[in-house]
Amino acid sequence: MSESIKLRGICKQFSGKTILHNIDLDMEAGSVTVILGPSGSGKSTLLRCINHLEKVDSGTVHIGQELIGYRQKGNYLVELPEAKSARQRQKIGMVFQQFNLFPHRTVLQNVMDAPQRIRNESTSVVRSRATALLTQVGLAHRINAWPRELSGGQQQRVAIARALSMQPEVMLFDEPTSALDPELVGDVLQVMKNLAQSGMTMVVVTHEIGFAREVADNIVFMDQGNIVESGNSHSLLDNPQHPRLREFLSSVL
């Protein structure tokens, strides 16, 4: 089910400003990687390059054996047409800071629509899977609510269920708790922790150091478009080598 992620030489510029400098990163199948870093360090951009939501200037992304967003032709990388990229993205779940639930669909419809429309799965199969997922995230009682009637934490848990409805091989989380009231963060993190224990490959951009310590296998610290330090989560948090990381940790803890 879960797949590995391999990034090689990812470079990205926005209007002349370099956001990512030649990033290499490996994430094993079933591992949890937390990306830390100050805002503007390029961590969200890196995450969005993994599912080709952001185009890279150079470099490659592999999920398992599959090259994402491009096809190799000799020494060239030819960008795939949008329909082909869409097919690849089905296997890469993503959760956004602002949830981005579809406001014109109920909770259940939000979770059911993609597998029904994209993969033409039968309604009964999709419904039972969607109900099971919503039960997992603790929202079985709100399946017929509209997104606007839910709290931020509930919306984010629906968004996680929606991403899982496509049975992805990896999950990307882009600051999933940053837009939430502090008291609602715990429920979302708990859902993510359960998901990690089920063996999903997860890449999480977050500021929740506690979550990183408890759940992450590896931590990557980024600053100004570079990976400054990376490694096992406990050794990195307890014994940071780079002064920039030490400075960062002392300011967030």
Binding site: N51, L53, E82, A83, A86, R87, Q88, R89, Q90, K91, I92, G93, M94, F96, Q98, N100, L101, F102, P103, H104, R105, T106, L108, D113, A114, R117, I118, R127, T131, I143, N144, W146, P147, R148, A159, R162, A163, M166
Partner: protein, 300 residues
């Protein structure tokens, strides 16, 4: 509200502030309305009997049908063309974007009446229309005057006019959908056409419908200009009768009554379409729709 106080003391009764000004102003307005209504009813110059007589006259009814036909055709084709123009305008292709901009610029600038005359007289510019293949020669041709009747000239002018306005309304609607919605749909793996149909359009409709309702009603009334090229819509039918009988005002009232009726039907329709597309967003308009979603629960 009568909330019983738990203690033995009698609850103090609340008397809300009385708005005497509201009563007074309502009275004044109603009185003025009454005066106006009685003057309309009792003024013999309105000739209400003539109005009633002509309201369902055959030529008036066929005029109404013509007005409805012109409105339907020009709104349907106009909004279809407007959608294409909106896409061109938003396209990353600079040629398409520019062409769309120029089209909208031109057809919004030229008054409907001028356009109508231009299309009606297009034969003076292009006397003959022909389809010619290189190395083969002409394969089909027709005299322009055979194609351009008052009806086809009216349809062309109305559609051109409508599509330019519709394009801007649809563009505004599409742009009102947040980028996060596009990204969420993309990340789930929807194809571009599915993203448009399932995510963008249903949400864009909320922004499109109120101005589109205005446009449709506006178009209904704009069709009245076709009377200048002797196309028998409801206004021209009324004019034909009053040129014979000199009952000008009563027959204009007949036309007015029909325009009021048609606009009312459109307004009511707009209410229900808006209620449908505001589902999930506006609490009071979605009641009947939520009822439907409750049913899912009981069946699962």
């Amino acid at each position: 509200m009568n909330v019983r106080h738990p203690s033995e003391r009698p609850a103090l009764k609340i008397i809300e502030h009385r708005h005497y000004g509201r009563w007074f102003s309502a009275l004044v307005v109603l009185l003025l309305l009454g005066f106006f209504a009685s003057s309309v009813a009792n003024n013999p110059n309105f000739e209400w009997d003539v109005v009633l007589q002509n309201l369902t006259e055959d030529s008036i009814l066929s005029g109404v049908m013509m007005t409805i036909k012109l409105t339907c055709i020009s709104v349907l084709l106009g909004f279809a063309g407007g959608t294409v123009l909106a896409f061109m305008r938003l396209s990353a292709n600079p040629v398409l974007a520019w062409v769309s901009w120029v089209y909208i610029w031109f057809f919004r600038a030229v008054p409907m009446l001028v356009q109508l005359f231009l299309w009606y007289n297009i034969a003076t510019l292009y006397p003959k229309l022909s389809l010619t293949l290189p190395f083969y020669g002409e394969i089909w041709s027709v005299k322009t005057n055979q194609l351009i009747s008052p009806f086809s000239a009216a349809v062309i002018a109305l559609v051109m006019h409508q599509s330019a306005y519709a394009a801007e309304i649809i563009r505004a609607g599409i742009q009102s959908v947040s980028i996060g919605q596009l990204e969420a749909a993309k990340a789930l793996g929807y194809r571009p056409s599915q993203i448009f149909r399932r995510t963008v359009l249903p949400q864009a409709m909320r922004a499109i419908l109120p101005p589109a309702g205005n446009e449709v009603i506006g178009q209904l009334k704009t069709t009245a200009v076709v009377s200048v090229i002797a196309l028998q819509d409801v206004l021209y039918s009324a004019q034909i009768i009053y040129q014979r009988t000199y009952e000008v005002v009563p027959l204009l009232l007949v036309a007015t009554a029909w325009y009021l009726l048609m606009t009312s039907v459109l307004s009511i329709g707009q209410y229900y379409v808006e209620a449908f597309y505001s589902r999930g967003n506006v609490p009071d308009k979605q009641k009947w729709f939520r009822f439907k979603s409750k049913k899912i629960e009981s069946s699962s």
